[in-house]
């Protein structure tokens, strides 16, 4: 199991679209994926979990991956957050 921190940089934070893109990216991998913020951790395949995490602009989250392709998954998901989920601002 490995993990890495990332800062939410898109203006809208983890809103509907961002959460959907996060899940879709995660679905490309076989490993288990979780996202943690503060003392709450959610399954990163749950759109409702992701949204209620309260990951707004500027908050720090930790991506956690566990399984065969955990390295690739971690890199891809941290990149996605840093690239503002592909959003302009």
């Amino acid at each position: 199991m490995i993990e890495k921190e990332a800062t939410i940089e898109n203006k809208l934070g983890m809103h509907l679209r961002a959460a959907a893109v996060f899940i879709e990216t995660g679905n490309r991998f076989k490993c288990e994926i979780y996202l943690r913020k503060g003392d709450r951790q959610v399954n990163a395949k749950s759109i409702m979990g992701l949204m209620t995490l309260g990951a707004a602009l500027g908050s720090t989250v930790t991506v956690i991956t566990h399984g065969a392709d955990e390295r690739e998954a971690l890199a891809a998901l941290v990149d996605l957050i840093r690239n503002r989920f592909g959003e302009k601002e």
């Binding site: 203006k11 809208l12 809103h15 959460a19 959907a20 749950s46 759109i47 409702m48 979990g49």
Partner: protein, 588 residues
């Protein structure tokens, strides 16, 4: 027991009257029984849930496709989120696990889990998350329908003409509704900008929203009257009410035939005095209504909708697109854009503003914009840019003193310079006006007129602030009277102050839409009336039936009266104009 002839008040969302049978949406969905399963039934139950999930996925994909084709790709995107909710382990995996562990039927477990999840969203302090509760509700309702084998998409299968009665209507429901059978809407929640309200207006169906608990008191098949103009719903009306509303409906139909003839006429008095009748709009698509009813331009384009029901603030480009579209569609007429008029009670968690003890006397209108200049300048630049593409005038709300007007104009000049540096084109001669809606502004109209290209009197706030009476408060609502001599004096003073400085004076409050007041307002010297689109023909007609000279005499007589009752009696005795809609003069 059945409710009889009971009246419910909500928010008028789409004008018109309809009479028909209630069709409750979502009422049956949550009557779910709890059943204990045997060990042997558990696997079967999980397979049954899986089948319902698959069926629901297909349904949502079909709707997504249809909306994508009919409405647009971005509107269809919401259904992607629905598909994710349908796979969410917090819902599906949890339900599967609990069926196995507790050996209870799928419907019951699903509903219990959903209740909890929806509760979490509803309790969130974040407005955006609160609204997502509707999305989850919609997906779960579909799942439950598929599980219980109830017919899918009830709204697509209605046979008779019905009035849809719902807690709220979701995009997936209105997208699949059998439109030719639905004659009106009511919803328990929502305001003028909620999805159901916008949909009703674009379909031109009468609708009332924000009725709180109507779905709990209406039964399927009850007779309903929906008055979308007044915001009233009547359950099981008695013969007298039915007759009254049928009559009103007939008159409206006759009226709409007359309307067609009035559409192209100008608002000119018998003795040749020319006025302008424009429309107030709230949403960009309302321009269509304004044109249909023959409005000569937009006298008030409210911009609040851009800022509500969202998490972020609208950017310059987004606002520009909206303003230029409205302005272009209104050509050859003028569009008056009112800058943001929100109070501390609305959206300002995003600006870090705390709750106010008395929001009506707090940081609202121009005060808020001057306190958050970055936000204000984004809007000013967007309006300026749009001014290149149509005839735009700008006006500021809630101005209480000339300093505020000067400050707002200074910021407008800054915005012009910024655009100049970016080499962006804008109308250098765009007129700048203000709303007169505070007694302090009305009393100093002579001072403000020197800083302004026009005035528009906002009567709703002017009356409330002058008479210190809240119309919503039943105990003092009787004091809220547009015919109070104080109000009429203020109006006269504002018009005179404007005319002394050679600027025009309009009115965009509800008084302007009251046909009983038209002769008086003409006599007081008003140059422009701006009303809801549907009221435009009535006001035009009223103007065409009077003589300016007689109206001035009437105004003189009215100004000599000492009580609003005397004034009202005088106006009623002169009322020749055939009245389509109710007057706001209190009924005695």
């Amino acid at each position: 027991m059945e409710t009889v002839n009971k009246e419910y008040l909500g928010v008028p969302a789409s004008p018109g009257i309809c009479i028909g049978k209630a069709y409750l949406v979502g009422s049956r969905e949550f009557q779910v029984k709890k059943t204990k399963l045997t060990e042997a039934q558990v696997e079967k139950e999980m397979a049954r849930l899986q089948a319902a999930i698959d069926a629901t996925r297909k349904e949502i994909q079909t709707i997504k496709q249809r909306v994508g084709q009919e409405v647009g790709f971005s509107e269809a995107e919401i259904f992607n989120a629905y598909l994710h909710i349908l796979q969410d382990p917090l819902l599906i995996q949890a339900a599967m696990d609990q069926i196995r562990a507790s050996r209870i039927n799928a419907e019951y477990i699903l509903q219990e889990i959903a209740k909890q999840l929806i509760g979490q969203f509803k309790d969130s302090p974040d407005e955006y998350l609160q609204e997502r509760a509707t999305d989850i509700n919609d997906v779960v309702a579909r799942l439950l329908r598929n599980l219980t084998g109830q017919p899918m998409d009830l709204l697509s299968e209605v046979e008779d003409d019905v009035i849809v009665v719902a807690k709220d209507l979701t995009p997936s429901q209105t997208a699949t509704m059998r439109r030719e059978r639905v004659i009106g809407f009511t919803t328990d929640i929502g305001g003028k900008t909620s999805h159901a309200a916008i949909m009703a207006r674009s379909l031109e169906l009468p609708a009332v929203v924000g009725l709180k608990n109507l779905t709990e008191v209406v039964q399927n098949g009850s007779t309903l009257i929906v008055d979308g103009t007044a915001g009233i719903v009547l359950i099981n009306p008695n013969g007298q009410m039915l007759a009254k509303y049928r009559h009103a409906q007939q008159r409206m139909e006759q009226w709409s035939r007359k309307l067609k003839k009035l559409k192209g006429v100008t608002a000119v008095t018998k003795d040749g005095y020319r006025l302008t009748v424009a429309a107030n709009i709230e949403l960009p698509e309302d321009v269509r209504q304004a044109r249909k009813y023959g409005a000569e331009g937009i006298g008030l384009f409210r911009t609040e909708f851009l800022f509500l029901n969202r998490r972020d603030l609208p950017g310059e480009d987004e606002q520009f697109e909206v303003y230029q579209m409205v302005a272009r569609q209104s050509l050859p007429y003028t569009t008056i854009i009112r800058t943001l008029d929100l109070g501390g009670d609305k959206f300002l968690s995003r600006l870090g503003t705390t709750t106010e003890m008395n929001p009506f006397l707090g940081l609202r209108g121009i005060r808020l914009c001057l306190a958050h200049q970055d936000l204000f300048k984004v809007q000013l630049r967007a309006v300026l840019r749009a001014s290149h593409f149509g005839k735009i005038k700008i006006m500021f709300p809630m101005v209480s003193c000339v300093e505020e007007m000067r400050q707002a104009k200074a910021l407008l000049r800054e915005a012009q310079k910024e655009l100049g540096r970016r080499r962006v084109l804008y109308d250098r001669n765009m007129e700048v006006g203000l709303m007169i809606e505070l007694p302090s502004a009305a009393m100093t109209a002579d001072i403000l007129a020197r800083e302004s290209n026009f005035f528009s009197i906002g009567t709703n706030d002017l009356i409330q602030y002058t008479l210190a009476a809240d119309r919503i408060n039943e105990k003092v609502a009787y004091l809220y009277n547009p015919l109070h001599p104080a109000i009429l004096r203020l109006i006269r003073q504002v018009v005179q102050a404007g005319h002394n400085e050679r600027i025009w004076v309009g009115m965009c409050g509800e008084m302007a839409a009251d046909p009983q007041l038209t002769p008086l307002l003409v006599g007081l010297g008003l140059d422009e009336f701006s009303t809801g689109p549907a009221f435009v023909p009535q006001i035009k007609k009223g103007i065409r039936e009077v003589n300016f000279a007689e109206c001035r005499e009437l105004a003189e007589k009215v100004m000599a009266c000492t009580t609003s009752a005397d004034i009202e009696a005088l106006l009623k005795s002169l009322m020749k104009n055939e009245v389509l809609h109710d007057s706001i003069i209190p009924k005695t």
